[in-house]
C-alpha cells in the first residue's frame, strides 16, 4: 500500500497538460486514411426524397361559378378534374414501396362537401379505372363549409410518373339555399414523405445541377498555418448509377471574392451500368486528386464560404430511359495522403 501511495505521490507532481503539449517535439506523421464517404441514390440526387403536390379547385369545376344562388340542389358528380400536377419532366416512373401520405383539403365554399367524396391521385388523366390509382382517400365525415379535412396515412406499391392527375371522384354535396360562391378556390395539398423507392426510371438526354453552400469559421490563429500539412486528398467515386455526375467546389472569402476552386477542372464521375430492373451491373470508379500545398491551404484557411456545385446527367446514355433500384448508388469518398507538420509550440 505504501508503494501505491508513493506512486500516486509521484503522479501528483505531473505537469499540466498544456505544458506537456508544448514540450512535445514537432509531429511529422504520414497518414493514409479515408476521411469521409457518402452514398447517394438516384432519389437523393433527384430531389424527390419528399414530394409536395398541390392543386386548386374552384366552384366552377362542379358547375357553380362565383355568384349568389337562392337554391343549390344536391350535387352528385362521378368526378371533378383532372388537375394535373407536374413532378419532374425527366421522370419516367418511380416505383414506391411505401410512403407516408398527408392530404389536406379546405372547403371555402358555402355548401358542404359530402361524405363519400374521394380525393384520388392517378398517374394518367383517366378517372374511374383501377389500374392508374396512386392514392385514393375518401372524405368522411361530411366536410362542412369553411372547414378543413386532413388525412394522415400511408400508401404502398404505387407508381409515380412525370405528371400526376388529381380528381375529386364521387363528388357529392347536399346543396344549400341562399348561398354565395366567392372566386376563392379550394386548395388540395398532398405531401408524400419518407418515400421508399423500389425503382426509378428516368429519361435519357437530361441534366440538372445543384448548389449547396457551407459556411466556414476558421480561427485567425490557424490561418497562417499553411505548412501544417502537405500531400494530397484523393476523391474517389464508385458509380453504380446510370448517370454521369460532376462535382466542383469554390472557396470564397467574407467579401465574396473567389479564392480558389477544389479541383483544377470539375471532377467528372463516369456513369455506371444498370439492367432494366435497376440493379447495378457495373460500377465505374473515377478519381481526382487535390494537392495539399501552401497555396491550397491558404485558400481554404482564409475562406468563409464553400460552394459545392454538383450535377447529374443522362445526356450520354443510350436509349430513352435508364433505371436504378434502391441498391444502386453513387459512393463518394475522400482519402487523405497527408504528412502532418505540427509544431505544438506554435499552436499554443
Amino acid at each position: 500500500m505504501l508503494g501505491s501511495i508513493l506512486l500516486l505521490g509521484s503522479l501528483s507532481g505531473c505537469r499540466r497538460g498544456d505544458d506537456l503539449l508544448a514540450d512535445l517535439p514537432p509531429y511529422h506523421g504520414e497518414w493514409l486514411l479515408p476521411l469521409v464517404q457518402g452514398d447517394a441514390s438516384l432519389i437523393q440526387l433527384s430531389q424527390l426524397r419528399s414530394l409536395p403536390l398541390s392543386a386548386t379547385v374552384n366552384s366552377a369545376e362542379f358547375g357553380l361559378p362565383s355568384g349568389t344562388y337562392p337554391f343549390v340542389p344536391p350535387i352528385d358528380l362521378p368526378f371533378v378534374g383532372p388537375f394535373p400536377i407536374a413532378i419532374a419532366e425527366y421522370l419516367v416512373v418511380m416505383e414506391v414501396n411505401t410512403t407516408d401520405v398527408t392530404v389536406r383539403l379546405n372547403n371555402p365554399f358555402p355548401i358542404p362537401i359530402g361524405e363519400g367524396t374521394r380525393v384520388v391521385l392517378r398517374n394518367t388523366p383517366v378517372p374511374g379505372v383501377p389500374g392508374n390509382v396512386v392514392l385514393d382517400v375518401p372524405i368522411a365525415p361530411q366536410l362542412e363549409a369553411n372547414s378543413t379535412f386532413e388525412y394522415v396515412g400511408a400508401a404502398t406499391n404505387i407508381e409515380i410518373t412525370d405528371t400526376l392527375y388529381l380528381f375529386l371522384e364521387q363528388f357529392n354535396s347536399p346543396g344549400g339555399t341562399n348561398v354565395t360562391f366567392e372566386p376563392t378556390s379550394s386548395s388540395i395539398d398532398i405531401v408524400l414523405s419518407r418515400i421508399e423507392v423500389a425503382r426509378m426510371e428516368i429519361s435519357t438526354g437530361r441534366s440538372f445541377e445543384r448548389e449547396d453552400s457551407l459556411s466556414l469559421s476558421i480561427e485567425q490563429d490557424l490561418q497562417d498555418e499553411t505548412d501544417i500539412a502537405s500531400g494530397s486528398i484523393v476523391f474517389y467515386a464508385d458509380n453504380g448509377l446510370p448517370i454521369e455526375a460532376i462535382f466542383q467546389g469554390y472557396m470564397y472569402d467574407a467579401a465574396g471574392t473567389l479564392l480558389d476552386s477544389l479541383f483544377d477542372s470539375p471532377f467528372v464521375v463516369q456513369a455506371g451500368v444498370t439492367d432494366p430492373t435497376g440493379a447495378t451491373t457495373q460500377i465505374t470508379t473515377s478519381s481526382d486528386t487535390i494537392p495539399i500545398d501552401p497555396a491550397t491551404l491558404d485558400g481554404f484557411l482564409r475562406s468563409s464560404k464553400v460552394v459545392l456545385r454538383y450535377g447529374v446527367s443522362t445526356m450520354d446514355q443510350p436509349g430513352t430511359s435508364v433505371s436504378a433500384n434502391s441498391t444502386a448508388a453513387l459512393r463518394l469518398q475522400l482519402v487523405g495522403d497527408i504528412r502532418l507538420n505540427v509544431d505544438y509550440d506554435d499552436l499554443r
Binding site: G29, L33, P34, V36
Partner: protein, 452 residues
C-alpha cells in the same frame, strides 16, 4: 580451483545472458544475508548469531528497454521530450517496448536462531511483513511507430500490434518462515549440511490489473480507401473503492516459499528456492472488461437527408470494440513466482565470532520470474558478486549482472556495522548513471538491521 579461473567463469556467466528480473536484496553481503529469507527461507538465520530485527528494508527498481537514463532525466527533470526519444523507441530493434517499476518494503523482519552447537545455524525462525507494489507494461514497438510516424508506411500489409500488456499488482504478505540444518556428514574440515526452509504468508491483495489477453491488428489498404481494425482483449481489474478497508485489502490468498540450501563447510554455500508460490483472488472492487470486434473505417459517413447534405458519424462497430462487456466476477492473479538459486564462496576466514565471516566472498545468483510483474524485460537475471569485508566493521561489494539489457548491470553495496546496528545501502544496478547508452534500469536498496 584456480582463483583466477573461478573469477573469470563467474564474471563470464554474469555477462552471458539474455534475461531479467530483480533478485535477492543485498546479495553477497555477509551481514545482511538474512534479508533474503523473505524469498529464500533457507537463508533465515544467516549473518547473525541469535536474533535480528530489520526495520525497515526497502528495495525499489525500475527500468525500460529503450529510453536511456539521460532521456528519462530529460523528460522527468528538464520537462524536455526530444524527437530522438520517440525515435529511440520507434527505431529500436526490439519488437516491443517494455517498462516496469517495483517497490518492496519490509516493515518488519524478525529472525531467531534456536539451537545449533555454535548458537546458530540450527533451527531458525522468522516473522516477516512485506509490502510490494509492481507494475509493468509491454507495448509493441510498431504501435509507437504507428502513432509517431503514421500508417502510410504500413499500407498494404497487416500490422499486428501485439503485445499490449499492462499488469499492476500491490499486495501485503504477513507470515513466518523457518529453516533447519540437517547434517549430511562429509569430511571433518568440510562438513555437509542440508538446510530446507519454508515460509508461509497470508497475502492481502491491495490492487490488481491484469491484461489477460490483448490483440490488435490494423490493415490499411494500399490505396488508403479503408482501414480494417480488429481487436480482442480481456482485462481484469480490482481497484479498492474510496473508503475501503486498506488493511485487509480487496482480496487474499496464501503464499509459500520453499527452498533448500547446501553447505559444504562454512566457506561454500549453495541454495535454490521458489518464492511466492500461490495466487490471490480479488473479490472486491472487481471489474472485468472484455471486447472482441472488427471494424472497417471508410471515412466519416455523409448522407442526404430530406434534400439536405448531412453528415453522420457511423462508428457503432468501432464504439462496440471499445465498449467492452463488464462483469464483476472475482478473479485470481498468480503471485510473481520466482526461482532463485545461487551460491557463495568465502576465503580468508576472519576472527569474528558471531558467525563465520570471510574477508573475500564471491557469489553467483540466478533469478527467474515465472509470472512477470514488475519486471520490464525477459524474466531472468544472472548476477555475480564480490564482497570485501574490512576489520569486521564494514563490507563493500560489487556486483555484475545481466538480464538482456544492452549493457550489463553494475551494482555496489556498502554495509557498516557498529555494535548491533547494521546499515546497508546500495544498488544492484547503477549502470545508467555510468553509461549513457540505450535502455535504462536502476535499482536501489536500503536496510537497517539490529542483530545480536
Amino acid at each position: 580451483m584456480n582463483r583466477a579461473l573461478t573469477i573469470t567463469i563467474v564474471f563470464l556467466l554474469g555477462w552471458v545472458t539474455t534475461l531479467a528480473q530483480d533478485g535477492i536484496p543485498h546479495m553477497g553481503d555477509p551481514w545482511l544475508l538474512s534479508e533474503g529469507a523473505m524469498a529464500v527461507p533457507s537463508l533465515q538465520g544467516r549473518g547473525f548469531k541469535r536474533a535480528s530485527l530489520t526495520i525497515p528494508s526497502l528495495q525499489a527498481w525500475g527500468g525500460n528497454t529503450v529510453l536511456s537514463y539521460k532521456a528519462l532525466r530529460d523528460i522527468a527533470v528538464r520537462d524536455l521530450i526530444q524527437e530522438e526519444h520517440i525515435q529511440d523507441i520507434s527505431n529500436s530493434t526490439d519488437d516491443q517496448f517494455s517498462a516496469g517499476v517495483g517497490l518492496q518494503l519490509q516493515l518488519l523482519s524478525l529472525g531467531l536462531n534456536l539451537g545449533g552447537k555454535d548458537g546458530g545455524l540450527g533451527l531458525s525462525l522468522g516473522v516477516e511483513h512485506r509490502e510490494r507494489t509492481l507494475f509493468n507494461m509491454d507495448i509493441d514497438r510498431e504501435l509507437v511507430t504507428l502513432l509517431y510516424e503514421g500508417n502510410k508506411q504500413y499500407a498494404g500489409r497487416e500490422l499486428l500490434l501485439d503485445p499490449l500488456d499492462i499488469r499492476s499488482f500491490s499486495y501485503r504478505e504477513l507470515g513466518v518462515n523457518g529453516a533447519v540444518d540437517i547434517p549430511l556428514g562429509g569430511s571433518e574440515d568440510r562438513p555437509m549440511k542440508l538446510r530446507p526452509g519454508i515460509g508461509i504468508y497470508k497475502v492481502f491483495a491491495l490492487q490488481g490489473i491484469n491484461m489477460e489477453q490483448a490483440s490488435i491488428s490494423m490493415f490499411t489498404r494500399a490505396d488508403g480507401r479503408a482501414v480494417d481494425l480488429r481487436s480482442n482483449y480481456e482485462m481484469n481489474t480490482a481497484i479498492p473503492e474510496s473508503g475501503g478497508n486498506l488493511f485487509n485489502g480487496i482480496g487474499g490468498g496464501v503464499a509459500i516459499d520453499a527452498s533448500l540450501a547446501l553447505a559444504l563447510g562454512d566457506d561454500m554455500q549453495f541454495f535454490a528456492g521458489v518464492d511466492d508460490i500461490g495466487s490471490v483472488k480479488f473479490s472486491e472492487g472487481v471489474k472485468n472488461y472484455s471486447a472482441t470486434g472488427a471494424y472497417t473505417f471508410r471515412g466519416v459517413q455523409f448522407t442526404f437527408i430530406d434534400q439536405e447534405l448531412e453528415s453522420t458519424v457511423t462508428l457503432d462497430s468501432l464504439i462496440e470494440m471499445g465498449d467492452p462487456d463488464i462483469t464483476e466476477e472475482a478473479w485470481s492473479m498468480q503471485l510473481p513466482t520466482r526461482l532463485l538459486a545461487g551460491g557463495t564462496y568465502g576465503s580468508h576466514l576472519t576472527e569474528y565470532e558471531a558467525f563465520p565471516l570471510f574477508r573475500h566472498m564471491w557469489g553467483l545468483y540466478i533469478a527467474h520470474e515465472f509470472k512477470s510483474v514488475g519486471s520490464y524485460n525477459a524474466p531472468t537475471i544472472i548476477s555475480a558478486s564480490y564482497t570485501y569485508t574490512a576489520a569486521e566493521r564494514a563490507s563493500f561489494g560489487v556486483l555484475l549482472a545481466s538480464n538482456g539489457d544492452r549493457i550489463p548491470r553494475l551494482g555496489l553495496n556498502l554495509t557498516v556495522r557498529a555494535g548491533p546496528v547494521r546499515l546497508g545501502i546500495g544498488s544492484t544496478n547503477l549502470s545508467p548513471l555510468l553509461v549513457t547508452g540505450s535502455g535504462a534500469a536502476a535499482q536501489g536498496q536500503f536496510a537497517l538491521q539490529f542483530a545480536w
